[in-house]
């Protein structure tokens, strides 16, 4: 049983405050959805949780099973069981997905032949051509292929908590179904806890969330069950966004 507890998390870049007190707890097997308008700081939250350079946590804690990850290197967070599937997976020439799995300390169980077999099976399951595992990761791949490869790495590295930043973007209907089925199976079989960042309820229809959070201006403004996602799909975020006037005057105060 793993628990990721985000407590009063504040963070800023050199020029702006971007997280303004985030509170959330994700446990093994749970699916949480984070939804919000463009620019509300959803991706930033995922980067701050993963320890991307360029952000400073000014207040709060990121507790993974009670241990604060703030100040830890990205790879240390990953080794402790946190995973981030990026919205825009990065292309790296000469570094393949297979090499990444071999280099990662998270996938050292079994001998190399066994790991290779497992990787092949996983790739086949996700509809990834086997040659995609041995060429430069994400290079010359379509948006959907990249997202499948992110899911492949997620399934192979077996983290305890995964943040999926717009895993649905770029995927076609079939791809979305395959990928979300795989994530769902991980939550059921392996007890994976998931934070899904998305704009659309399409993904959430496949991956039924236990909780939905609305994220505006760097913090959660309301939370609810999956019905909240349906409501957002219908009415949008308008009622959660402060009026322009207010935000301008707030901006002036800050």
């Amino acid at each position: 049983m793993t628990e990721l507890e985000i407590k009063d998390l504040h963070a800023q870049t050199e020029s702006a405050s971007i997280l303004n007190g985030v509170n959330m707890t994700i446990c093994s097997g749970e699916v949480h959805a984070l939804m919000g308008p463009n620019g509300s700081g959803k991706s930033t939250l995922s980067h701050v949780l993963m320890g991307r350079p360029g952000y400073t946590v000014t207040r709060g804690e990121i507790l993974l099973d009670g241990e604060d990850l703030v100040g830890r290197e990205t790879w240390e967070r990953a080794q402790r069981g946190l995973f981030l599937a990026l919205q825009y997976p990065v292309e790296i020439e000469g570094v393949s997905a297979s090499m990444i799995l071999e280099a990662s300390r998270l996938s050292q169980s079994g001998d190399s032949e066994e790991r290779l077999q497992n990787a092949r099976k996983e790739a086949e399951h996700l509809g990834i051509p086997v040659e995609h595992l041995s060429k430069g990761v994400n290079l010359d791949m379509s948006g959907g292929e990249k997202k499948r490869l992110e899911t492949f790495q997620l399934a192979s590295l077996k983290p305890s908590i995964a943040i999926l930043d717009e895993l649905d973007s770029g995927l076609d209907v079939d791809g979305l179904r395959i990928v979300s089925k795989r994530v769902e199976k991980l939550t059921k079989d392996e007890g994976l806890g998931v934070l899904v960042i998305t704009h659309y309820s399409r993904l959430l229809e496949e991956l039924k969330p236990d909780k939905v959070h609305v994220f505006v201006d760097g913090k959660i403004v309301t939370s609810g069950d999956s019905a909240l996602a349906d409501e957002l799909e219908k009415d949008g975020y308008e009622k959660w966004i402060p009026s322009t006037e207010t935000s301008v005057s707030l901006g002036g105060l800050v």
Partner: protein
Amino acid sequence: MYAPELAQELNGHEWLKDLRTGMAIGAIEFNYPSHEQEEWRYSPIDDLELGRFVPAIEKPQAIPEEYTSQSDNFHSILTVDGFLFSHDEPSTYEIFSAADREDPIEFASPIDMLGSMNMAFSPDPILIRVPRDSQVEKPLVINHLCQQSEAASFPLIHIDIEENAKIEIVEIFHHSEVSALVVPETKIVVGNSANVKYQQVQNLGPNVVKLGSLDVSVGQQGNFHGAIAAIGGSYARLKTICSLNGRGASAKISAIYHGDRDQVLDFRTRQSHMARDTYSELLFKGVLDDQSNSIYTGLIHVDNEAPGTNAFQTNRTLKLCDRAWAESVPNLEIENNDVKCSHASTVSPVDEDQRFYLESRGIPTAEAEKLIVDGFLQEVVSSLPVNGINGWIAELFNQKLNTREFNGG
């Protein structure tokens, strides 16, 4: 730079002694290298004090045992301080030192001071002839060793691959702890329809200055596939000229290099298209750490008589440290309109997004960078021309990168 009388002390028949004297005197007539000349621009040539080295004129008597062993897997030649120390005598090609010949041999006139000095002070101008239609089955490995401290050595090798012949050549400049200057000149003539694969490995010691030249000409329908792997030396320079002289001649030249500490790795290239329907492709990729420098200047020249030319040139440098510095200057000189040419050059630090991506998969920072560097060089490593030696080259680069981690970056 060095007294012509010194050249007289080298072995050889009268004709060669006369030639050497002429070359030593002739060297003075060329411009002394200076950073003010275009081809020495950006280089630290003015600070090298080349005069402190003394030409090696005595053949070394003993060499480390590791260099004396022969192998069944390749043919070998060993030069020590420019002297031809040992070689095998296969039936598929001919090899001799001009110093052993009574009858004069004609050499092409040198084009600069270093070429002239090389000819003046080379104790054993080595000539290799691969006869027409012959296939040399095993790679020819030419080992160069700098052994004498404070010596200047001048290895000179001319390899003539005649029509429709085929050979793989590996030229290795080995590591040693001495402080020395080496001025090697390698000339390769690829005959019509001949096929040559060439790999140079520069693994010199940290106190060796290398001012090298590689001069390749390719005849009609001939093919040259060459590569350079450079990691050693203090200031190590290689000027590569590749002339495509016959119709349909083609050449592929690549390089990988890794500099650290205060090393300067300097590459000058010229792809000369002198005949129609010729093809050349150049890809140089380097990695720089600490305060090391690299210089790349390259020229594609397409002659008026060379329509149908395809010529490409790419230089990419990855900086592992802010203090590292790279100069990359590609150039085109095109006299014919019916050509397809491109050149590209980039100098960049390790990509932060790539590093973050790998770290987010649980890979520690140093290892992530190593993967990125390996991946960056892979494009060249995977297509090095001489298969038998690729593993060793990859290992040399790995060792250098691992030293970095050991130092804590």
